[in-house]
């Protein structure tokens, strides 16, 4: 139940920040923003999937498949078609994994998706003729290596992810998704084709993560399996979405900004080895202290600050909806 203004906020925020950074052209901030944007896309994608009750630990599979598909197909069919291939291959992989894990619940689902992601990494090593093995592979460089254009493109992808997330939070999808998550039988008894919807969410999520992975691979034009298939890319989206606030669009954005900022601080204080200790500490503090994430905290604060005005606005907003 958001007002029109807060609904627009993420779009305005992303546009302004991207344009400002492109204009002032400071390499450090551009790199940081690219990092935030890529993780935010994966977190939004993870969140979309989780709304159907599929708590995945397999994001890394799609991240890696995205960058590898771009790298493998670009010499064969050209750059444009290679991007199409990224979408197609990720959609196929998502359909496959979605069908394989359809009957799994809770922890079983988490373990199976984790297993899938790590199997992909092994697959790359086992077939070195296709994939370059553990030595890595060279995807085409994004935007001829100009960081400002890279940020611009990734910013656009982020905007698309935000728009998708918002659409899927609309009346057409949100209630059906939540019903599938809470009790799939009830959703089916309401006419929802549960399997199709779950696979659909998997495809949207997988393709978004795959595109983010392809962008990531194109940043420097070189990736090794442990860059993109690392469990980090499975854990980060989950951590960011949860810390920011699940089932929202703004949550994963806020989470990505906060976590990446903390990471930078930790990197400068602790150095390259072990700086991720900050992830562990932040995750634990959040899980104990505010399990509803930043958005939950803001909502609570908002409620305390102006209960009356808020409910008044809510009523108006809902009347407008009706």
């Amino acid at each position: 139940m958001k007002t029109g203004l807060t609904r627009l906020l993420p779009y305005v925020l992303i546009l302004l920040v991207t344009l400002a950074l492109v204009w002032i052209d400071k390499p450090f901030w551009i790199q940081l923003a690219i990092g935030v944007a890529i993780t935010a896309i994966t977190a939004l994608a993870w969140d979309i999937l989780s709304r159907t009750g599929q708590v995945s630990l397999g994001s890394a599979a799609f991240f890696g498949i995205g960058s590898y598909t771009l790298a493998i197909f670009e010499p064969l069919i050209g750059l444009t078609l290679a991007w199409v291939a990224v979408v197609v291959v990720c959609a196929l992989a998502a359909t496959l994994l979605g069908l394989l894990t359809l009957r799994l619940r809770r922890m079983y689902f988490a373990i199976a998706t984790l297993g899938f992601a790590l199997s992909m990494q092994v697959l790359v090593v086992v077939f070195p003729d296709w994939t370059g093995g553990s030595g890595g592979i060279a995807p085409p460089v994004l935007a001829d290596g100009d960081p400002r254009w890279q940020l611009g493109l990734i910013g656009l992808l982020l905007l698309a992810a935000v728009a998708l997330s918002d659409t899927l939070l609309g009346l057409r999808f949100r209630p059906a998704f939540f019903m599938i998550r809470t009790k799939p039988e009830l959703a089916a008894a309401s006419g929802v084709p549960v399997v199709h919807m779950k696979i659909f969410a998997f495809i949207v999520s997988g393709v978004l993560i795959g595109l983010a992975g392809a962008c990531y691979g194109g940043l420097y034009g070189y990736v090794v399996p442990t860059d993109v298939f690392t469990t980090n890319w499975s854990v980060l989206p989950l951590a960011i979405a949860t810390l920011g606030g699940m089932d929202t669009t703004i949550g994963p954005l806020l989470g990505a900004i906060v976590l990446k900022a903390l990471e930078e601080v930790a990197r400068s204080v602790i150095g390259g080895t072990g700086y991720q200790v900050v992830y562990g500490a932040v995750i634990i503090l959040f899980v104990i202290g505010m399990p509803q994430g930043i958005v939950g905290l803001l909502r609570k604060a908002g409620k305390l600050a102006g209960r009356r005005t808020a409910t008044g606005e809510k009523k108006k907003e809902r009347e407008r909806h009706a």
Partner: protein, 260 residues
Amino acid sequence: MRDTASLSPARRSAQQSGGAILAVEDLTVAFGGLKALDGVSLSIAAGEITGLIGPNGSGKSTLVNTVSGQLPVRGGRISLRGGDVTGRRPDRIVRAGMARTYQIPRVPPTLTVEEVLSVPLLYAGRDRHRLPGLGDAAAIAAFCGLGPLFRRYCGDLSVTDLRRLEIARALACAPDLLLLDEAMAGLSHEDSVEVMGLIRNVHEQGISIVIIEHLMRVITTLCHRVVVLNNGRLLAEGTPATVLADQAVREAYLGKGFAS
């Protein structure tokens, strides 16, 4: 006993045109080696309220879960308005015109009443013109006594209101046949009287109804016909008066307390 004579002529003709709305032939459902339903054949007449009774474990819930597509069929045939729906997916069966309620619905607490009702309205894909009073979510909510709670979160609703919401959700599927799974279990006397009134109103809309119920009072006041299951088989069927007078039914189901 209620009869269809009190209905408006248009509704009556709509109800009487169908004959059997749901027909089950030789239906067998098994979990492992255990047969939960063993060759059950019965038919539900269009336009009636039918009671489905039987002791615990007699196969009532299995029957409802099977005809609504949630359980696999081992043998037999299910047809809805003459069309075969055996083994179809639950959402397809909803589209074909049969909706069901759950005894314990478990709706997402962060959804409002409006949002829950929007799901069948969007996905059940049924022609709504047949039910003029139930065209949109607000009308359905008002019909079920949920008007004032339309924009409340489901997490804040009382048990009775959740029951109403569950009936409303099933109504939003615009069904020809509605299966009610113990819609009154655990409600107070006053609340169950209200829900019974609601069920009557639903029936007045021209919707055929099957009620699973333990309370004999509900069965005798609402139902035109009663079907009795025992040990996964059909034990008896007929009007409430004849069925409840049946010696086999009294022994199998009602026990000493009721029989006396």
